[in-house]
């Protein structure tokens, strides 16, 4: 067994998994609070990626792209703010009027919204792949073996660290603040929460805004990490992130992160050791297995069916 190769795949998998995990949190929070699959969430992530790319280009045009930390911070915050407004808008336009209505209606509306946003970006930004030069280069060589050096790039460190920080911030937000308390109350019983003075509409909007903000961070990371984006990246990432959310136990925040990491690892190891073409098949295969043997996910609670 080549440990160097194994370690490299582990690092790659964790990086990828962190990105999936951030998107998955948006799915899991929305599903927890209103019980619907926010199908347009993958598109929100794609819009986040575009926002960060355009912010970078503006920085470049303004001549401040030389100051790397400033550029990165600008990319992060501008993209988070602008993208979360899309999250807010999608909820307001396509989901709120359908709340409490027929369940499938919201799903179809979400699919429609996803198609709309995808084509909106395609028309306004063009269908071509958008390349971007690497901003952060270099890395640490962890291990030297005869045929292979294990590289941990600075970009990977940033992705994993940033994800970790965001996770801590958001977990605290949900566990400690009044906003988080309102969210958890709405998750348990929306009517009752409303009767007790929680502004349900606002809480749900905030959930969408938070999910979109995290997705936009994921979008920015992908832009920096892979250096190419196009209008179509949202679909597959969205499906995989949802898979991650289900895998970890939908409605559970740590579950989403765990699911994301697992999906990332499975993908990396599968493409590293088996075939790169069938990595998506592996992801979905694992999903099917988990759902058969543990339908409530790894960290979720089994749902009690009531008559």
């Amino acid at each position: 067994m080549d440990w160097a190769y194994f370690l490299q795949q582990l690092i790659n998998g964790l990086t990828l998994g962190a990105i999936y995990g951030l998107i998955a949190i948006g799915y899991t929070m929305v599903y927890g609070i209103i019980g619907m699959i926010n199908f347009a969430h993958g598109e929100i992530y794609m819009i986040g990626a575009f926002h960060s790319l355009i912010t970078f280009l503006i920085c470049q045009a303004a001549g401040i792209s030389g100051i790397l930390p400033l550029t990165l911070l600008l990319m992060l915050f501008v993209s988070m703010i602008l993208t979360s407004i899309y999250g807010w808008g999608v909820e307001r336009v396509a989901y709120r009027p359908l709340r409490g209505s027929f369940r499938l209606a919201a799903l179809i509306s979400a699919i429609g919204m996803s198609i709309f946003l995808q084509n909106f970006v395609q028309i306004s930004q063009g269908a071509r792949v958008k390349p971007m030069q690497p901003l952060i280069e270099g890395g640490i060589t962890l291990m030297r073996s005869p045929n292979f050096d294990v590289q941990l790039s600075y970009m990977q460190i940033i992705i994993i660290l940033l994800t970790f920080v965001l996770m801590v911030v958001f977990s605290t937000l949900i566990a400690k603040t009044s906003l988080g308390r309102a969210q958890r109350a709405c998750e348990q019983d929306r009517t009752m929460a409303g009767l007790l003075g929680v502004n349900v509409d606002r809480t749900i909007s905030t959930t969408f805004v938070m999910g979109a903000a995290l997705a936009s961070v994921a979008g920015m990371m992908v832009t920096l990490y892979y250096g190419v984006i196009d209008f179509y990246i949202g679909f597959l990432a969205g499906v995989k992130a949802f898979t991650a959310a289900v895998l970890g136990g939908i409605g559970s925040l740590p579950g989403a992160m765990l699911g994301g990491l697992l999906i990332g690892l499975i993908e990396a190891f599968w493409s590293g050791y088996l075939t790169i073409e069938y990595k998506d098949v592996a992801t979905f295969g694992i999903l099917v297995l988990v759902l058969i043997f543990r339908p409530w996910g790894l960290l979720g609670k089994p749902e009690v069916e009531k008559v």
Partner: protein, 506 residues
């Protein structure tokens, strides 16, 4: 915000605040995605600023919001209609301006387009009139009398619809049968009708799964793909004819349905949806990568066309040992014969699907499906085996998908994994849900709206899918339960159909 909605009259300053709020939102949403275009240059990406689009986006949002305020306050329907029309024109102008424009200061393009010629002026006026009429008659807050009136009207329509379902269906069938005689010479009309018919058939097939059994399937296109590839491969490798392959394609698709369904059908709603979606993607990935068998992304081309039930061929140059369709019928050769034959073939297949569904609904198995859809626990306690019941629905739905797939392959003559993306599944599901789940006529209506209209507006090319997505959202907001949404059990105890209709209309 919430206080503004609650009070009956909003003060002027509150309205200004609300408008400013939405203007800021519009600005933030459009400032980058619309306002800055990334342009590919040899040196890398460059930016092109499109400030005019941002301005128009803000303008249309503010005008639209103002219209909603006018409607909410019940100030004037005329003003409401004018404002909505104005907002629509602004949005239109924005999309026209997406196209390459060098001069950002250029005057509104819409004016040029609208008054360029007499015909375009008529089209514009019609468009404006339609928007205006919709805006004028759309009322949110209705007075009690108006609500009463409109429910009376809609229940009248419901009664009329329900007691005449058979007649409506029959008229529809007759229309589709004589369709080629009306448009016999028009190639594109027949092509479009065939395409719509494929989706009607797929919709009816999926309706068994989603509408009757209540299983949310987001990967229906997988069975369509299985059917198409089984026909293509059987015909290329074993030289089997279409008529032999058609049932085989159905059987293959149904067995795939059983193999997939067996482990996953215990799952509830959304989980089932995501697993079926995953399965659809798996099939597509396998089709792309299994190069030796499926030809990968290149697909399979020159798939054999169907013969006239093995009696005659449709091609101009008839191979040795068989006769042409024209000779058989004693008429002149025409390339339209094959198209019309294909149209009738898919019509027949679709009608078979419909007929089988209608009959199955009345059998114990169909009733078990509907019961399961309503309450799974009750069904289990009554001794219905949920897994087997769901499996049968899944397999039968898959079988019809397989038939449709085989037809698709033979009609196109070429298939590739690109035809079987998630978007197709979403479109088919949208047809079923928009039709009103379980309603057979609703599926036809939705297929015509969703497939027929966008195909007619091919010139809009790039905007087509954009409008398609927006339309999906709009129809759901307008009628969340679908266009024809009268879902009720097929059979009730001790109640004749007339009594039932009369009873529910009250």
């Amino acid at each position: 915000m919430s206080s503004a909605f609650a009070s009956s009259r909003t003060s002027g300053s509150e309205i200004v605040k609300e408008l400013a709020f939405f203007a800021v939102i519009a600005l933030l949403m459009s400032v980058m995605i619309l306002g800055v275009e990334t342009v590919d240059r040899p040196t890398g990406l460059e930016l092109a600023v499109r400030w005019d689009l941002v301005l128009i986006a803000i303008g249309s949002t503010v005008i639209g919001r103002l219209a909603l305020i006018v409607r909410r306050e019940g100030i004037s329907r005329l003003a409401q209609a004018i404002l909505i029309t104005l907002a629509a024109v602004c949005v239109f102008e924005m999309f026209v301006r997406f196209r390459e424009m060098d001069d950002r200061w250029a005057p509104p393009v819409v004016l040029d387009m609208a008054f360029g010629s007499v015909s375009s002026m008529i089209v514009t006026l019609c468009f404006l009139a339609i928007v205006f009429a919709i805006a004028y008659f759309s009322m949110k807050e209705k007075s009690a009398a108006e609500v009463d009136e409109s429910t009376k009207l809609s229940s009248k329509i419901q009664v009329a619809y329900r007691s005449n379902t058979k007649k409506i269906g029959l008229i529809g069938i007759i229309f589709f049968i004589i369709f080629p005689f009306l448009f016999g010479e028009n190639r594109s009309a027949i092509d479009l009708a065939t395409l719509v018919m494929i989706y009607i058939m797929l919709g009816w097939g999926l309706n068994i799964v989603v509408g009757l059994a209540g299983l949310l399937d987001l990967g229906y296109v997988a069975f369509y793909a299985v059917g198409a590839y089984s026909y293509a491969l059987l015909s290329q490798n074993f030289d089997l004819s279409f008529w032999l392959c058609l049932p085989l394609a159905g059987i293959f698709a149904a067995s795939f349905g059983i193999v997939l369904g067996f482990p996953v059908l215990r799952l509830r709603g959304d989980y089932l949806a995501i697993v079926t979606l995953g399965f659809g993607e798996i099939i597509r990935v396998v089709l792309i990568n299994w190069y030796d068998l499926t030809g990968g992304p290149d697909g399979i081309s020159s798939i054999e066309r169907p013969s006239f039930f093995g009696l005659a061929e449709f091609s101009r140059r008839v191979p040795e040992g068989s006769i042409g369709f024209g000779d058989l019928m004693g008429i002149e050769y025409s390339s339209m014969h094959r198209l019309i034959f294909l149209y009738y073939l898919i019509l027949a297949l679709a009608l078979v699907t419909n007929f089988v569904t209608m009959r199955l609904r009345k059998l114990p198995i169909g009733r078990a499906w509907e019961a399961l859809r309503e309450d799974e626990i009750a069904c289990r306690s009554l001794g219905i085996n949920p897994t087997n019941t769901k499996l049968s629905a899944f397999a039968i739905g898959a079988m019809f998908g397989g038939f449709a797939g085989a037809f698709f392959a033979t009609r196109q003559g070429f298939i590739s994994p690109e035809s079987f993306t998630f978007l197709e599944s979403a479109v088919i599901l949208a047809i079923v849900v928009m039709g009103g789940m379980g309603s057979q006529i609703g599926v036809v209506l939705a297929a015509v709206v969703m497939i027929g209209f966008p195909e007619m507006f091919r010139e809009l090319a790039e905007y087509r899918m954009l409008i398609f997505g927006a339309g999906m959202v709009a129809i759901m907001l307008w009628r969340p339960r679908g266009l024809l949404s009268f879902r009720d059990p097929t059979i009730l105890l001790n109640m004749s159909k007339k009594e039932k209709v009369a009873g529910e209309a009250k």
